[in-house]
Symmetry: C2
Subunit: 403 residues, 2 copies
Amino acid sequence: MKKPNIVVLGAGYGGIMTTVKLQKSLGVNEANISLVNKNDYHYQTTWLHEVSAGTVHQDQARIAIKDVINQHKVNFVQDTVVEIKPGENKVKLQNSELEYDYLVIGLGFESATFGIPGLEENAFMINDINSSRLIREHLDYNFAEFHKDNNPSRLNIVVGGGGFTGIEFVGELANRIPELCKEYDIDKSQVRIINIEGAPTVLPGFDPELVEYAMNSLEARGVEFVTGALLKESKPESVVYEKDGKLNEIPTLTTIWAAGVKANTIVEKSGFETNRGKIQVRPDLRSPEYDNVFVVGDCALIMNEENGRPYPPTAQIAIQQSGIVAHNVVALIKGHELEAFEYKPLGTLASLGHNDAMGVVFGDKKLFGWKATFMKKMSDNRYLLKLGGVGLMLKKGKFNFFY
Amino acid sequence: MKKPNIVVLGAGYGGIMTTVKLQKSLGVNEANISLVNKNDYHYQTTWLHEVSAGTVHQDQARIAIKDVINQHKVNFVQDTVVEIKPGENKVKLQNSELEYDYLVIGLGFESATFGIPGLEENAFMINDINSSRLIREHLDYNFAEFHKDNNPSRLNIVVGGGGFTGIEFVGELANRIPELCKEYDIDKSQVRIINIEGAPTVLPGFDPELVEYAMNSLEARGVEFVTGALLKESKPESVVYEKDGKLNEIPTLTTIWAAGVKANTIVEKSGFETNRGKIQVRPDLRSPEYDNVFVVGDCALIMNEENGRPYPPTAQIAIQQSGIVAHNVVALIKGHELEAFEYKPLGTLASLGHNDAMGVVFGDKKLFGWKATFMKKMSDNRYLLKLGGVGLMLKKGKFNFFY
């Protein structure tokens, strides 16, 4: 009997965890497992705001794929996915083509710019290691350049979006700016961090008490908030927003767009039936059209029956899904029963710099300050433990609890 | 009797050492000493190629002025010199005006671009802490940006000038590039370091054996030399040079101009009689026109009687001059005999990265490799010892002899 080919596309949270679970459940004689990823590393998307601000080095936020997969069991293919051909059970890569019996799509997200002019060309995005490292270097470079031309737009940092990522990023920035000022001999009072949010308040959907806590913490460290304001255009040397029907322009060389993501467009381009660009999966996380195609993470759409809206794309849900996807792939191969996915919300914690955070855990318990920071770092460490054991956790974990 | 005012302009090698010697020789009741400098720090001009390459941090290459002057004896004025009015014994600063009885001009150098089009606008210069830190950040930034557009001109680094500074800089770069490649996930083979020199060989004036040693060491680490080539134009995205009557263009976003310096133009603008932009000083280092004006360092021109050409502007000659200037200022105040300056060449060592160097010491002894590196670092440490004692040497010295 021919060994089935399992192909996992993407080594983000969903893809890498699915792979790690598959390699534990299947013997080398039971299946060929291939993992396809553009880079030879997995990275922590939820830490990219720290890489962008320069408070965490990219090497702490990424993990060599060969360090977490068993290369005797998993064939790692470093390549870029060009197209999925679900009708032919094939995946076209930039440099080759793969055939599969079972496919797991974990291709993650892209920035969504909603057609706002200039964002693609002029704004920075917190998308991956490369784009985040570039933000860090862009900040450094402009602080260094400031001595050449004294152009104040070099020191105005505009963050579009006061959602989860935008707020976590300005929190890191608020901690980082004093260090940058010291490194580049710049007076701190010359630097501005401006957060622009379309909703009447930042962190829409969060408990008002948490929102107030976050805004107080950030404003105390110099962050300026402009709420109820829509970003209209990003120009090479400024950004334009509309508030109360009036257009305003902020001179800046640094606009970071953190206000929207969408599923990887390869999904739509490959002809899958989509809802908001995603594949609305069956309870067992398979695509509605193909019995041998699973979707994990940001490309999967699952409705929250309670409010009729999709669950937001988070690392937490991707990691939870990976358990069911791995189980169900194995079940198909071995002829066992498939399981249905059920999301268990474990809480949400937003960092506000390395020494402050807030959020909700255990259903409705609000946490603030060092307790929230501690819980958030512990949860990050727990993920590393699950992914690669104690060694990986000690190597890449966050243990700076007390400063 | 009114205490005389001594004003020292510039806290480079000549100015700061003159000030330190004056404060040792004169009591608070004997003179008012003022030191004027744009920044609140002195920096090691001879280390700027390392700051530029990112191999030495700017904080190691600079020294807070308050750490080396005795603030009870010396009044430090942080300001920029606008004009010297030697007829009125006054110095106009940006924010005030100073009167002097004795003046010491130690205003250092500027880059000379010889009218080559585009250099001022598009090329980088290794002039001071700000401009050097900017080169370091520019390199980092372009390596980070490379992932965005794959533009190979981001990885072509062109250094105009194969003289002392140009060669020392490419030596540091050759060491730094592998680190940068690791930091930014770039294949080393994609990076080029190109040194362009007008003379038929680099390091004109150096012993041929030393030149060969330097070129071998640098070529082995990937540096490309284009000699007998004149830089004709620096454009925003390329550099043009002429060789054998033919124009060539290298696509690059990074041109560093290290091929020419001139004395601070304030000297000429202030109406001093100049020769090649410098004040050709009397043997006692006074200006030929004014009995109370001394010149130290790069603004002073002294002829080498042996070959009829001026001594090149170096840290070594500036530091030697400071002893005579300080002595002669004190002599004028106390009515003693003035001394004549005599240059004692102590040798020349050029670094080729932190772990290689070459040069001549003790008149004609050639040194290569680790011995030359050791001697050069020891000489740097000796300067710090003279400037600020053992504490300063230990704090800012170079003790990385063995790697």
